[in-house]
């Protein structure tokens, strides 16, 4: 019988929530990496027992953790406990937390600065990994979206990382500026139909696409309109919060922006607003039903100044028409005095029939719906603030 594994990253550790396919009774693990910020965990589509986690702290920086047994045991790639940690010539086997920007003249234009909040040039400084995206086909290949915004890739199971410098070096990098949460590359979408096509999104630079496996990139922000930049329709500078796709239709993208919900039917060449009758089109998370590519989910947040649901009511909004027409989903969710946020990486879907939908809140709740959003129940209520939620549908 198939099962579900929900990977939850929080401000104070990671948690693994498991259930059988009924999704009624859940086991909640003890905290993993307790006391550390876990921005993201994700499993390999090619090997569900291979998990990657981004562990970080202001004190001790970035750590990458890997599990090869579905989350039972973890180690820093290259330094498994009980095994030699160096090669015979004394070099470390793994430098899994070494993220060094590429400044070579051969592989990209050497980039030394982006814009700071005040518009002055600021040097690129690695702060943390926001998002880990394992390859669809190779468990040892994984992408990392980092702050300050850049894309890295490991092809040895996370032991070493190399930047794909064409993204920062494509031409607009020097004009990128951070959003309030930092200048983070938070979304990495791998196209199941075309291994050379990758979509990324950066706050607050915008969305970008490569058609050649990461060598060259182009901004894909036509149609976005942002009043917080000097030119509201500029090529870059838009604060994209999240992009989602249905794997069966990778040319259709849905975006939650810092104001505005958008869609593209041509792989990002142009975008149209689909906010429709949403009570507010500010928000962070967005996702797509696993089997119905025109069914999408958002969690409206009151405003950029007040990061909680309107009227104290936690409502997921679902559109079955690919946008514009939205219905509130409230059954099982608090409808009074609720002032939590749902962050950009904190919503996910499973691929069971019926599709399960999951999201976590800054109040420490993880809610699940086993009926595509019609009804909800908390899996757990009192975790630390939830940063990310990912779901694995296990065979």
């Amino acid at each position: 019988m198939s099962g579900i594994r929900v990977l939850v990253g929080t401000r104070k550790g990671a948690f693994v929530l498991t259930s059988d396919a009924k999704r009624e009774r859940w086991n909640v693990s003890a905290p993993l990496f307790a006391g550390w910020e876990i921005y993201h965990l994700k499993g390999s589509p090619a090997d569900p027992n291979r998990l990657y986690a981004s562990q970080s702290s202001s004190w001790f920086g970035q750590i990458i953790q890997r599990s090869d047994d579905g989350g039972t045991t973890w180690h820093q790639p290259g330094t498994p406990p009980g095994e030699p940690t160096t090669t015979p010539d004394g070099m470390p086997k793994g430098e899994s937390n070494k993220f060094v920007y590429d400044t070579s003249s051969e592989t990209g234009k050497p980039l030394t600065t982006h814009q700071w909040y005040d518009g002055t040039p600021h040097p690129w400084e690695f702060k943390r990994v926001w998002h880990l995206e394992p390859s669809l086909h190779d468990p040892d290949t994984v992408y990392a979206g980092v702050e300050d915004a850049a894309l890295f890739r490991s092809t040895d199971g996370g032991q070493t990382w190399q930047e794909l410098p064409g993204l920062r070096g494509h031409g607009s990098g020097a004009s990128w500026a951070p959003g309030a949460g930092g200048m983070c590359l938070h979304t990495i979408l791998l196209d199941p139909s075309n291994p050379n096509r990758i979509f990324t999104a950066i706050s607050s630079a915008g969305a970008f696409r490569t058609n050649d496996a990461g060598k060259t990139w182009q901004p894909i922000n036509r149609g976005l309109h942002s009043l917080y930049i000097p030119n509201p329709t500029a090529e870059v500078g838009h604060c994209v919060h999240r992009i989602a796709m249905n794997r069966s239709r990778p040319g259709v993208l849905f975006m939650q922006k810092h104001w505005d919900v958008m869609r593209s039917d041509n792989a990002g060449e142009s975008w149209q607003e689909i906010s429709g009758n949403l009570p507010t089109d500010f928000g962070f998370a967005i996702d797509v039903h696993a089997h119905e590519p025109e069914t999408i989910y958002v969690v409206p947040i009151k405003s950029d100044a007040e990061h909680f649901p309107p009227d104290g009511k936690l409502r997921v909004y679902r559109s079955r028409t690919g946008g514009n027409e939205w219905e509130p989903l409230t059954k099982g969710l608090p409808q009074s005095d609720c002032y939590v946020n749902v962050l950009r990486d904190a919503m996910a879907v499973d691929s069971l029939d019926k599709c399960g939908v999951y999201f976590g809140t800054t109040g420490g709740q993880v809610y699940a719906s086993a009926d595509a959003g019609d009804s909800w129940a908390p899996i757990v209520r009192d975790l630390p603030p939830v940063v990310s939620v990912e779901v694995q549908t296990l065979p």
Binding site: F60, G61, K93
Partner: protein, 98 residues
């Protein structure tokens, strides 16, 4: 034998309990102690000082013999008591809430 104390999070990463004891060749300085520590526990690379610049991370401090040595040059000799193992070289995370 040099004694080094680590903050709890780093002890856990290194899979150690209590003090770490290290052999350091040559002069006993911050750099030589940290070099020896990272050879013995490669999982700590990047957590105390930057991979590339080798600068101490901002929220990490170095104490020994009742003194704050955080701003001493990395190649300055550590106190005799540390070099002889009478006192530990303390790697400390800044105290902060949250």
């Amino acid at each position: 034998m040099i004694r080094v104390t680590l903050p709890a999070h780093l002890r856990k990463l290194a899979h150690v309990e209590g003090e770490v004891k290290l052999d350091v060749d040559g002069q006993v300085t911050q750099r030589s102690v940290l070099d020896a520590l990272e050879v013995r526990y490669p999982m700590l690379r990047g957590t105390i000082r930057d991979h590339v610049t080798q600068r101490r991370r901002a929220f990490v401090r170095f104490f020994a013999c009742g003194e704050d040595l955080s701003h001493e040059p990395p190649d300055a000799l550590l106190p005799d008591a540390v070099a002889k193992g009478a006192q530990p070289f303390m790697i400390v995370g800044a105290i902060a809430g949250g």
